[in-house]
């Protein structure tokens, strides 16, 4: 019998070089992925840099004190005034109207879906609400101007064709899905054994929802509310279409008024030369808006820390 020589498989050390190449390739890929991830930081810095640098030019022309205290906003008139207050009041009033609708309704729907609704209702209602949240805001603007305003005018004959009230109402309806779905998610994430503990002592559904589940998910609910507020403050198209565009220092929702966002839209629709004071006003307005949303976000962050979930 002939012995067949067993082939020897050798692993020469030269393989090391190939490993080195592979290592290099892996590192390059990792670097590229890292660059993509850090783009978000770059975007943030770009936003802050741009808003601040343009605003600084603006504040060379307009003293900060005037900006904060002047009660008129007429940058495009010959007699130019640069008081941000009218825009802030418009933003505040329309947002308040929206939140008066969105927060209670969103919360009630969330409580219902999370604690009361049968499985099938929840399975249908959740995607439906999600679809509602996906409708473009310009469509909600159309709805506010051409459906809700005439409807409101039938009840309130003095209501003008443009008003913070109808824009705010529709904005509120628009925000309900965001608030309700985030609140519901927060409530659903409360573990079942906590609910069982409450039911086992004889609590009803409502008592369990309000006294156990909601306190346990407070941080998530706070986050949902903050998101709702940021949405309302930053919303543009509904107010641009239905609330009118004249800056008006009013606290009455029955009046038309511009918000910070509608002012930016109004200027953008015109033809302002790059670098003019009018051009810089929209960056000052944008910076104000960003700071406002930042305040709410920080507030939300603090609330979340304060009411951190511990099951």
């Amino acid at each position: 019998m002939v012995r067949v020589p067993v082939p020897v498989i050798s692993h020469p050390p030269k393989n090391l070089r190939r490993n080195h190449k592979r290592y290099l390739k892996e590192r390059i890929i990792e670097l590229l992925l890292f660059l993509a991830a850090s783009l978000s930081v770059f975007i943030t810095f770009a936003i802050i840099y741009l808003l601040i640098s343009e605003s600084l030019v603006f504040f060379e022309h307009v003293p900060l004190w005037d900006f904060l205290t002047d009660t008129q906003w007429t940058p495009l008139f010959d007699d130019a005034h640069y008081g941000i207050l009218p825009l802030v009041s418009g933003t505040a009033v329309s947002s308040l109207v929206a939140l008066v609708i969105a927060l209670p309704f969103g919360t009630i729907i969330a409580i219902y879906l999370s604690e009361f609704a049968p499985f099938t209702v929840r399975e249908i209602a959740k995607p439906f609400l999600e679809l509602l949240g996906g409708i473009p805001t310009v469509v909600y603007g159309y709805f506010a101007l051409l459906f809700v305003t005439p409807l409101l005018q039938a009840i309130l004959p003095d209501l003008p064709g443009f008003s913070l009230l109808s824009a705010g109402l529709v904005m509120g309806i628009m925000i309900i899905p965001y608030v309700s779905s985030m609140t519901e998610d927060a409530m659903r994430s409360v573990p079942m054994h906590l609910r069982e503990g409450s039911y086992a002592i004889g609590a009803t559904r409502f008592q369990t929802a309000v006294k156990v589940v909601m306190p346990a998910s407070l941080s998530g609910i706070a986050a949902a509310y903050i998101l709702g507020i940021s949405r309302a403050v930053g919303e543009t198209m509904v107010v641009a279409i239905a609330a009118g565009m004249q800056p008006n220092l009013v606290w009455n929702p029955m009046e038309p008024a511009a918000t910070i966002t509608t002012y930016i839209v109004q200027v953008s629709l015109g033809d302002l030369p790059h670098g003019s004071i009018g051009y810089q006003t929209i960056f000052a307005a944008g910076l104000t808006l960003l700071l406002l949303t930042l305040v709410f976000n920080i507030l939300g962050h603090l609330l979340r820390k304060r009411f951190r979930e511990v099951y």
Binding site: L194, A200, I201, G202, K211, V212, P215, V310, Y311
Partner: protein, 265 residues
């Protein structure tokens, strides 16, 4: 508003409840089969058996926890004495049942509230509002749960800051505060270390004369230590039921014997 007092006709043989031809279904799956058993008043009854035998399912029938989830249904009766009411009847409100029969769970589940509010919760949902009554009852319950000395100076602390064993005793206090007629324990020590387990067992021995207790346990020694009666279950059926001494020393059923002696399980 007053909380009803538990029954006080304590004689060792008095019955607190009787289970008659109980069947229970999760949807189409039958989890409990034709169970007949009595629960003796002011005694500890242990439910033992291998995992999945239906002992927890059985326990949760007593306060209608299954009503929380869809597609569950009961057949048969659990009669609660002395009023002779079938607590499984669809005409009986599960909330009413739970107000009379409370439960302590496998994992301690304190609410995200203060120690005081945790114990007071059951009283509050029964409409007790007077601070003095609440304080008195919370103190009583915490004393009965052997927790008072450890927490009396920090009743306002969040309950999560307690240790696992303390949390479980807090949950027992929470249940005791409402003077339940029966207290259900669903493997109350399975998530605890041996020292905390010993303290819970001691506590159960302390309160056994005050309240009727049903306890599910997978720990044979625990059943032998704490219970007066033992029920051995297997595959959704009640195989053997009797005084704990008898079951552990001289079981009638071969299956029970195998399980208790560790040949099977």
């Amino acid at each position: 508003m007053q909380i009803f007092k538990p029954t006080n006709t304590a004689s060792p043989t008095a019955q607190k409840a009787a289970v008659k031809d109980l069947n229970f279904y999760y949807g189409a799956h039958q989890a409990l089969k034709n169970i007949n058993m009595v629960v003796h008043e002011k005694q500890v009854t242990a439910l033992i058996g291998p995992s999945g035998c239906g002992k927890s399912t059985f326990l949760r029938c007593f306060n209608r926890m299954h009503d929380l989830y869809p597609h569950n249904h009961y057949e048969g009766e659990i009669l609660l004495y002395p009023d002779n009411e079938n607590i499984l009847s669809s005409e009986v409100d599960p909330i009413e049942v739970r107000m009379r029969i409370s439960m302590v769970f496998q994992k301690p589940n304190p609410f995200p509230k203060s120690i005081f509010e945790n114990v007071a919760y059951g009283l509050r949902i029964r409409g007790v509002k007077r601070r003095s009554i609440l304080e008195e009852r919370v103190e009583n319950a915490l004393r009965n749960a052997a927790l008072w000395e450890e927490v009396k100076n920090r009743l306002g602390d969040l309950a999560f800051n307690l240790s696992g064993g303390q949390q479980q005793r807090l949950c027992i206090a929470r249940a005791l505060a409402t003077d339940p007629e029966i207290l259900l324990f669903d493997e109350p020590t399975s998530a605890l270390d041996p020292i905390a387990t010993a303290s819970i067992e001691e506590l159960i021995s302390d309160i056994r004369n005050k309240v009727t207790i049903l306890i599910v346990t997978h720990n044979m020694q625990q059943a032998a230590r704490v219970s007066d009666y033992t029920a051995y279950m297997y595959m959704g059926e009640l195989i053997e039921f009797g005084a704990t001494d008898k079951i552990f020393i001289k079981p009638k059923n071969k299956q029970t014997e195998d399980y208790i002696t560790g040949r099977f399980g």
